[in-house]
Amino acid sequence: MSAVMKHRLFWPLVVLLALILLNTVSRPSFVRITVHDGRLYGSLIDILRNSAPLMLVALGMTLVIATRGIDLSVGAIMAVSGAVALTIIQDSGDPANPAVLAVAIGTAVGAGLVCGLWNGFLISVLGIQPIIATLVLMLAGRGIALLITGGFITTINSDPYKFMAQGYVLGLPFAFYVSLVAIAIVALIERRTALGMLTEAVGINPEASRLAGVRARGIIWGAYAASGLLAGFAGILYSSNIMAADANAAGLYIELDAILAVVLGGTSLAGGTFSIAGTVVGAFTIQTLKSTITFLGVPPAVTPVFMAAVVVVVVLVQSRRFRRFMGRLPARLRTWTSRTPDGAEAAS
């Protein structure tokens, strides 16, 4: 039992399951899955579907955080990617043509990759702090997206494009498959090559890694590039969901959700050992939390209050000082209670 409890995924899973249980108790329909035209419907399916953009961004964020960094620009990159894709589709005049879609998606994801490479350059080559370097793009990115869309919210009508976020394959949402593929590829690259181990080494002890001959610059650069690329894909999914490129709203605050998902999954913000599975659980937890909040009748706009609470709790649990403070609490209580005769016996 204790071996199970010590597993790093134990607490993230407990949180997720508790949340699902809470929902199930308060509304049994939560776990109900119905079948229409061979497609599955239900709250859980919605969570699988809606969590896709967050999942992609959080995967990238995991890699970045593992190098002791942070990427604040993912939301802006999503906006850029969505704007690029939809503008290309709109300008083509043939929104259903698969070739057009391929070009649009390719270019959009490429734009995301370029953004990521830019961040990586600033951080790994110029040595600028990650927060600030990605802040630049966070600021300018939405401006660029607005420029691409000409200041409007670009909307399109393209069934194949719509399919990506809203379509079904084998009864499950297509977006979920995108998540799965992304998880699989990231996990494969990190764990089947040496990248994961070397990334952790760089994140935990950059100097020792340098002395061991690890090429830290390339690894850090690569992490930001991956984050940009994944944010590019997330931007496509987001725009496909609403069939519009909204430069201001696309991916707003997603960087925060992603950071939270990573931290909930048990990866420390101080860098180092990371867990892809943990991030996956974390992303599902965030999405479930959002759906719970909505169900509670709270307007979605108020969600941030709950997020703030979660951030504070998670960050405090990770804070060594807070744990020390809490760790000393029982002892303090004991000395306090031991002043009474009953307490003294209980303590011994």
Binding site: R192, T193, A194, L195, M197, L198, E200, A201, I204, N205, E207, A208, S209, R210, L211, A212, G213, V214, R215, I219, G272, T273
Partner: protein, 507 residues
């Protein structure tokens, strides 16, 4: 002055860090108007004693009296208020503020409404600086001044209060010759005013020039207190290192370089990385262990880092098998078979949270590149074979390396480097802080490695160990290799004499 009561008296000072005793029942005293030096190798307890004295660290046992009264300092600030000021090696000032603020902040003159009275503050600073014979603009920003001036500003801050005891921790390590002379002038001036000064430095010449009294610590214990005039330099070093003083009278005279051996694997000429080493020459023969002996500050670690591409050379050339090779990074050095184990195992060696397995395979994997991952089975096999070969305990390759004992951590680090099949391995203090059994194991291991044709550079502060392990010994002084001798002809005592001899050639 001898008969006067000491100004500071520390009795039975003991400081423990978990299981380690950093300071064990040490007595220490300082007199007003005297310059006192605290001597000892790394880990002797010098800095622990200083920290206890200046309120940066609490004593676990023992009493400090100042002017006859028992004192206890919760913070360095408390100590300052009581008259004990410290100037640290890494100057603890605020480079972004003005000189005046650095001197007066914390007790700055206030005008009406409680606002800072800048003119008064500058005046106060100018006076404090004038005391030291320093004429600089108090309104200038501290960072615009050279380090020597910053050091003097730190002293100005320290003495602008009612200072009784001034602690100078390695104040001269970044100063040039003239700057040191200027500092000494100030120290003498303060001394004449009756301030007790604690001068800690690893430069023996400076200690002998300025200090009246020397206290020697070794392994956290007091060795003794001596008047400088009554303590020979060789005796001092002997007391610091813990060797008996026998057979020191006849100092062996030895020549410099031997003829370069035909089987030289690595040769260094004129290697310079300031301020640590200047113009160092070294030849490393195949299958030998070259011990490196030198006092603290002689450039031991700097030499190791320069030879292995960790620090870039400012001048000099390194040849490997006769080929000039630019070791521009550790990665480059590793790829030509020159590997380095740092004296700071935790910060510059191991990746604490990763497993023994990952730590052992790290360098090899980094050499192979990201894509050519070593298969898991092969990794385990490799790690397990090293764990067995080096007898790493517990033999659990999945355990985080940070949980191992010091000796086993060092072995893991060695395994990482040996897995690269290197030609030259540079070990900086590989046995520091590990228990005796593991120490002997590592020493024996080094010998075995050399027998297989590997060239080993073995750096240690313990001369006995250097002699035991090394086939030849290189003697470092002031960042220069002054001698390379076969260890057969040396005893610890004769080596000690060589290491401690005063610099003859000041150039």
């Amino acid at each position: 002055m001898e008969n006067a009561l000491p100004l500071v008296q520390v009795t039975g000072a003991t400081v423990r860090f978990q299981s380690d005793t950093a300071l064990d029942d040490v007595d220490f005293r300082m007199f007003a108007g005297e310059v006192h030096s605290l001597m000892g190798e790394n880990g002797a307890g010098k800095s622990t004693l200083i920290k206890a004295l200046t309120g940066a660290l609490p004593l676990d046992a023992g009493v400090i009296t100042l002017d006859g009264r028992t004192v206890q300092f919760a913070t360095p600030h408390d100590a300052q208020l009581a008259g004990i000021s410290t100037v640290y090696q890494e100057i603890d000032l605020l480079p972004n503020l003005t000189v005046a603020e650095n001197i007066a902040l914390g007790r700055e003159p206030r005008g009406r409404l409680g606002s800072i009275d800048w003119p008064a503050m500058r005046r106060l600073a100018r006076e404090a600086l004038a005391d030291l014979g320093l004429d600089i603009d108090p309104a200038s920003v501290l960072a615009t001044h050279p380090l020597a001036v910053q050091q003097l500003v730190a002293i100005a801050r320290a003495i602008s209060t009612d200072v009784k005891v001034l602690v100078l921790d390695e104040p001269t390590s970044s100063l040039d010759f003239d700057e040191v002379a200027e500092l000494f002038r100030v120290i003498r001036e303060l001394k004449s005013r009756g301030v007790a000064i604690l001068f800690v430095s690893h430069f023996l010449d400076q200690v002998y020039e300025i200090c009246d009294r020397i206290t020697v610590l070794r392994n956290g214990r007091l060795v003794g207190e001596y008047l400088t005039t009554e303590l020979l330099r060789i005796d001092l070093v002997q007391k610091m290192l813990g060797r008996s003083a026998a057979a020191l009278a006849a100092r062996p005279r030895l020549d410099g370089y031997e003829d370069p051996d035909p089987s030289v694997t690595l040769s260094a000429r004129g290697v310079t990385v300031l301020p640590g080493i200047a113009d160092a020459d070294l030849d490393l023969v195949e299958g030998e262990v070259l011990g490196v002996a030198g006092l603290l500050g002689s450039g031991r670690s700097e030499l190791a880092r320069a030879l292995t591409g960790v620090d870039r050379l400012e001048a000099g050339i390194i040849r490997i098998d006769g080929q000039a090779t630019r070791l521009s990074s550790p990665r480059r050095a590793l790829s030509v078979g020159v590997v380095y184990s740092s004296e700071n195992r935790r910060t510059e060696g191991l990746i604490g949270e990763l497993s023994v397995l990952e730590n052992i395979t790290l360098a090899l994997q980094a050499q192979r590149g990201i894509l050519r991952r070593i298969r898991s089975a092969r990794q385990r096999e490799l790690a397990a074979s090293w764990v067995e070969a080096l007898d790493i305990r517990p033999p659990d390759i999945d355990r985080p390396v940070g949980t191992l004992s010091g000796g086993n951590q060092q072995k893991v680090l060695l395994a990482r480097l040996l897995a690269l099949s290197p030609r030259v391995i540079v070990l900086d203090e590989p046995t520091r802080g590990i228990d005796v059994g593991a120490k002997v194991e590592i020493q024996n291991l080094v010998g075995e490695l050399a027998d297989t044709g590997l060239s080993v550079v073995f750096i240690s502060a313990e001369l006995e160990e250097v002699l035991r392990v090394g086939t030849r010994v290189a003697i470092l002084q002031n960042g220069r290799v002054v001698d390379v001798l076969p260890s057969d002809g040396l005893t610890t005592d004769s080596l000690l004499a060589l290491v401690a001899r005063p610099e003859e050639d000041e150039s």
